[in-house]
């Protein structure tokens, strides 16, 4: 059974990774933070008494379920927004709203301060993260769980509720897609 300290250490070690994974999926920092917080609370409330060794797999499953729930809610919300925006379309025609005005530029001031190596690494990371967000959901989940969370194929299959063969296929396809996309930009890992 995991003690309070073990649970705290586990959450502290996984929170940043979980946040990034949630960001890759939902592409929104605030939503990702909410998802990670929900997943942490659920883990502590429902599975806080599990052995420490079981926590990574349980947390990964909770996090993935929370991300899926978020997409479901978004789908419902978008359906209503589309409905209402269609109803009020005529009155909004004269509005000259420019979405570019609300688009914030990425903060890259830090990049210019450091050397060429850091710049290269930063750009590489940005490109990789961007390509990861474009992957199909299942491929991204399998790839991140398998290599970033360092789960075994069996554990990944269990977390994704699919066969081990499917995990291998998802990982292989994700790798091919990423390698191809990076190669087009002249990058090899």
């Amino acid at each position: 059974m995991a003690s309070a300290q073990e649970l705290s250490d586990f959450l502290s070690g996984i929170e940043q990774r979980a946040f990034k994974q949630a960001v890759y999926a939902v592409r929104d920092d605030d939503a990702a933070l909410d998802i990670v917080q929900d997943a942490m609370i659920k883990l502590a409330e429902k599975y806080g008494d599990r052995p420490a060794a079981e926590l990574p797999l349980v947390f990964t499953r909770i996090l993935q379920n929370r991300i899926h729930d978020w997409f479901r809610r978004q789908k419902v919300r978008n359906a209503w927004v589309t409905l209402f925006s269609n109803m009020g379309k005529k009155s909004d025609e004269g509005d000259d709203f420019d979405p570019l005005e609300s688009l914030s530029a990425p903060d890259d001031s830090e990049i210019h301060q450091d050397g060429a190596q850091k710049l290269e690494k930063s750009q590489l990371l940005q490109t990789l993260e961007s390509e990861i967000t474009k992957l199909p959901v299942r491929q991204r989940e399998a790839f991140l769980m398998r290599y970033w969370d360092e789960l075994s194929i069996t554990e990944t299959a269990k977390a994704m509720n699919c066969s081990e063969g499917s995990v291998k296929t998802h990982c292989s396809r994700a790798t091919q897609t990423l390698a191809k996309a990076l190669k087009l930009k002249g990058i090899t890992l």
Binding site: L7, Q16, L33, Q37, A44, E45, T175, Q176, A179, L189
Partner: protein, 152 residues
Amino acid sequence: MKYSENQFTQTQVDEFGQASAALLRQGAQNIPQGVKDRLYAARMKALARRKPEKILIQKPVLAGSARNWTSGSNGFWDTLGWIAPLVVLVFGLIGIAQWQDDSRINDIAEVDAALLSDDVPPDAYADSGFMAFLKNGPLSDADSSSDLVHSK
């Protein structure tokens, strides 16, 4: 690291995955301080709502119960404790059924013996004329009067 155009071996997939993960790990450490603070707050919130640990409470044991005189595996004695009365009940029911069968056979045997040892042959009781003679004939009154005499 160079990969062929279309096909990756499992080793190449693993190598690419590990290289990507190493890069992503570095990136995850550079998240803004504001996000780190919010993650810390979320962690504290989760820990505050942690499932309480289970405390083992020993069940009270009644004095004189089977657990007191069996020092060792209670499982066997517990099982025996509820199986033994069932076995006794089943054998008891079988015994009662057997005894009822025996007593019925004895009753029938007594009737048969009485019939066979009587002066009147048993076939006579199957004859309807003889039965009518016994009911309505002159012997019926005599029998009833003699019964009355005997009862007195």
